[in-house]
């Protein structure tokens, strides 16, 4: 063990939480949390999906009010009446769910609530200038300050969200899974910024399910389980097994299930010359029965669009999609679903979930017809099927009658994937399936995907985490700027090669193609 990094342990704490309690109808989300954060340290919060991390930070940022316990801010007990109070006290927050106003420009979003102004009039030039300054600092000067935020892809929106938190004078910056929508290069960028903040004496609370990030950036770690602190102030290099044990109460053995040796026979999906102008060009590949094909690439390389086009949610400008050798009607989701395709989309809130509806209905949504007779839904069958999926994916809480909107982020993600585990899906299109999913559940999910493949289901997987693509897929496609630049068996390719291919200006490109 090395010395805990960061400021010395006996510096006066910036923030202390004692016995904080918060309940939602039917759930005790926080049940006596203890946390101590010192100035200038990067403090990580670890915990499974639904452990209460987001709830905790929402209490710190004044969104929720605790029902019990004590919060000491710079030694003084505080109770924030609302987000405004927390902001004024010097706590900035990057929330897990995006908190941007789609129709406002990047600059306006960044300075929302504290616009530079003269007597009620916004000083627009200064707004833009300050926004650019923060974006530069984040290494993203290329994001246009005048563009409405709703027109940026998710990753860019995340950066805007960070820029907003940075634009305020904060003593403590809270980041709730900022890396979930970021690719590795963006994460590196983020870490650079965090180090700068740290150097300036600003404390950071960092939440992530990626343990290696914690090792890289954190000074200390606090682990939550079921709303309680199970370990506080662990050093960053605590062995993974120990961390996982604190989080889950058990150890997670193999992250990636073993790949079968048999070469999949039989072709399920064939994509030929698929093109959508401005998104991707001349994409061709196949997926066999029981084969898992992974697509790696940078954010913005057009992978999501490709999946959606294969699925019929977008109409291609050229090319065709064949299932079992039969051409799918372009632009028809109905045809795709009928042929056995299923898509777990990238944005769970906007693209996948009915947040006001119970989990069981969300899970049953795509296969409604299969559990109905003469137009009548067999609700019992639906509940049973949903409960089985919930068991298989370790949904927390397990109750499938809860509204989907009350689940934690990671558990919502499980519902999205779980929808396609029902019924006779033959080709599963997964777009960032593990975004925000905790280590334990992730392993379960990988196993489920592998099991499905073993049953003969084809899987097309898009992920921004290269190791996930390499570890899970049988075959890897690498996309760059809307083109497939490499197709290879996962055994014959390593992370370094993928990253080289993914980046612009790769030397390997000419050699391989």
């Amino acid at each position: 063990m090395t010395e805990p990094r960061g400021p010395s342990a006996d510096a006066a704490p910036l923030l202390t939480l004692r016995g904080v309690v918060k309940t939602f109808p039917g759930v005790r989300a926080l049940d006596g949390v203890e946390l101590t954060v010192r100035p200038g340290e990067v403090h990580c919060l670890l915990g499974q999906n639904g452990a209460g991390k987001s709830t905790l930070i929402k209490i710190l940022s004044g969104v929720h009010r605790p029902e019990g316990g004590e919060i000491l801010w710079q030694g003084q007990p505080v109770s924030f009446a609302g987000p405004q109070a927390a902001i004024r006290a010097g706590i900035g927050t990057i929330y897990q769910e995006l908190d941007l106003v789609a129709d406002m420009t990047v600059a306006e979003n960044i300075l929302l609530g504290h616009e530079p102004r003269t007597g009620g009039f916004v000083r627009r030039g200064e707004t833009r200038a300050r926004a650019r300054e923060v974006l530069e600092r984040l290494g993203h000067g290329e994001i246009p300050a005048d563009r409405p935020v709703g027109r940026l892809p998710a990753a860019a929106q995340q950066i805007v969200s960070m820029a907003r938190a940075l634009s305020r004078e904060a003593k403590l910056l809270i980041m709730d899974e900022p890396s979930a929508v970021l690719a590795h290069d963006e994460v590196a960028n983020l870490f650079r910024v965090i180090r700068e903040l740290k150097a300036a004496g600003i404390a950071v609370i960092y939440i992530s399910h990626r343990l290696e990030e914690i090792r890289e950036i954190c000074d200390r770690v606090t682990v939550l389980k079921d709303g309680r602190t199970t370990a506080a102030d662990l050093p960053a290099d605590t062995p993974t097994g120990r961390l996982v044990d604190r989080m889950t109460g058990r150890s997670v053995e193999h992250v990636f299930p073993p790949r079968p040796d048999v070469v999949p026979e039989g072709e399920l999906l064939r994509v030929e010359g698929l093109t959508r102008h401005g998104e991707f060009t001349d994409v061709s590949f196949t997926v066999g029965t029981g084969e898992i094909v992974g697509i790696a690439g940078l954010v913005g390389s057009g992978r999501s669009e490709l999946l959606e086009t294969v699925y019929g949610a977008r109409r291609p400008d050229a090319g065709q999609v064949l299932v079992d050798g039969r051409r799918l009607r372009p632009g028809s989701i109905a045809a795709a679903v009928k042929a056995g395709l299923g898509l777990a989309p990238e944005e769970r809130k906007s693209q996948a979930l009915l947040l006001g509806e119970p989990v069981q209905r969300n899970i049953g949504l795509a296969t409604l017809d299969r559990r109905s007779a003469a137009g009548f839904v067999r609700a019992g069958a639906e509940r049973e099927a949903a409960a089985a999926v919930a068991d298989r994916l370790e949904l927390r809480p397990r109750d499938v009658r809860r509204r989907a909107g009350t689940l934690s982020g990671g558990n919502q993600q499980k519902v999205v994937v779980g929808r396609w585990l029902l019924g006779s899906t033959r080709l599963l299109l997964l777009d960032e399936p593990t975004r925000g999913v905790d280590v334990g559940a992730r392993a379960e999910l990988y196993q489920v995907i592998r099991d499905l493949a073993a049953e003969g289901v084809g899987v097309l997987l898009v992920s921004s985490e290269v190791p996930e693509v390499l570890g899970l897929a049988d075959r890897v496609l690498v996309m760059r700027e809307g083109r497939i630049v490499q197709q290879r068996s996962a055994r014959d390719i390593n992370e370094h090669t993928v990253l080289d291919l993914v980046m612009a200006g790769s030397l390997l490109e000419g050699a391989d193609q």
Binding site: P4, D10, G19, P25, G26, V27, R28, A29, D31, G32, E34, G52, V63, R65, A81, K225, D226, R228, T230, A231, A232, D233, L234, P235, T238, D245, R246, G249, Y311, A313, I333, A334, V337, L343, P345, S350, Q351, A352, L354, L355, G356, E357, P358, R361, L365, A366, L368, D369, S372, G375, F376, V377, A379, P397, R398, D399, R401, R402, R403, T406
Partner: protein, 343 residues
């Protein structure tokens, strides 16, 4: 318990028992509509108490109750159709005009010559087709529902005036007129029709794939689309259903007034939307209940009845009605716990 200050690594006995996620289903948010309906029932009870104390001799008579229910019938059927549209994420401003159009069309002399069957058929077809046109404009023409149905509201009104030449068309088909005059086992026929429509629509919303799709389309259209639901078709069907309800309501209105006129149905859209919303249907879509809308209609109809029983002048009626709406909603929302909590 966790006082560990300083850099010391404090570990707790690994918490293997999971005390947290104990769910008590009755406090669960899923029961929110039920609570809301209870609130509305409470409002209704208060109104009944007011009725009993201000008009003790007339309010709770069989005649007055069946009067209230009869008054609620036509607007009730329309509100149920509206509920589906709103749950499906839309709005239908044309219900009043469609009712007028169907009423006028089914009472022209030539339609009347086909007898009651012909009239019912005409009303239902006119309503459904016009509703479907709304749906097509919205689903395929990608018009905002508010504007598309506003255009239909204006246009159908004009068409109804054109057909009737702005004259009130008297109905001479006895069986239609008797619809409103007769009752079965003491229950007026119109009320029975309303009950049947309500029951059927409850089943439709809660037990069928159509109902599920409606909720999905209104709750998150993109998610519904990606789950393989034909959002456009569903949209057309929803507006057609609302139009169908207008057709049924038109027959009821015609039976009640023994006449068809382009002046019928005026402002029904506002009444129907208000009843649905006070019944807990969310204007942003994806949420609402048939029972809530039923209660909403009954509340409004009972208020009107109370006013007349108490002989209130219209201006006072209006002021009091505004106050009652505010009061009803605030009562309905009242949750003791929330008093002490911000959001």
């Amino acid at each position: 318990m966790l006082a560990g200050r300083g850099g010391s690594v404090t570990e707790l006995a690994s918490a293997t028992t999971a005390p947290a996620a104990k769910t008590t289903w009755w406090r669960d948010d899923a029961s929110e509509p039920v609570r809301r309906n209870l609130g509305l029932t409470g409002v209704l009870v208060v109104l009944v108490v007011i009725g009993l104390s201000t008009a003790p001799n007339t309010f709770l008579t069989g005649g007055n109750i069946s009067n209230i229910l009869t008054q609620a019938s036509a607007i009730g059927v329309i509100t149920i159709g509206m509920t589906f549209v709103i749950i499906g994420g839309g709005i239908d401003l044309s219900v009043g005009s469609l009712t007028a159009l169907a009423a006028v069309w089914c009472t022209t002399l030539s339609t009347q010559s086909f007898g009651a069957g012909g009239m019912v058929f005409t009303a239902v077809v006119v309503g459904t087709v016009a509703g479907a046109v709304n749906g097509v404009l919205i689903a395929y023409g990608r018009m905002v529902p508010f504007i598309a149905t506003l255009a239909m509201m204006v246009g159908a009104q004009g068409l109804a005036e054109k057909i009737s030449n702005k004259q009130t068309q008297v109905v001479n088909v006895g069986s239609i007129n008797r619809l409103a005059a007769n009752d079965i086992l003491g229950i007026p026929v119109l009320v029975l029709i309303f009950a049947v429509v309500t029951a059927a629509c409850w089943v439709l919303l809660n037990r069928t794939t159509f109902g599920r799709r409606t909720v999905a389309v209104g709750g998150n259209a993109e998610a519904a689309r990606l789950a393989g639901i034909n959002v456009r078709r569903q949209t057309v069907l929803l507006y057609a259903l609302s139009g169908l309800c207008c057709g049924i309501a038109a027959i009821m209105v015609v039976a009640q007034s023994n006449a068809g006129s382009s002046g019928q149905g005026v402002l029904y859209e506002l009444d129907a939307i208000a009843a649905a919303i006070i019944g807990g249907t969310s204007l942003t879509g994806g949420r609402g209940t048939v029972i809530g809308s039923l209660l909403g209609v009954l509340v409004f109809t009972t208020i009107t009845n109370l006013f007349i029983l108490n002989n209130l002048p219209t201006e006072v009626q209006n002021i009091v009605k505004g106050a009652i709406i505010v009061g009803a909603v605030l009562v309905q929302q009242f949750q003791p716990r929330e008093l002490f909590r911000r959001r």
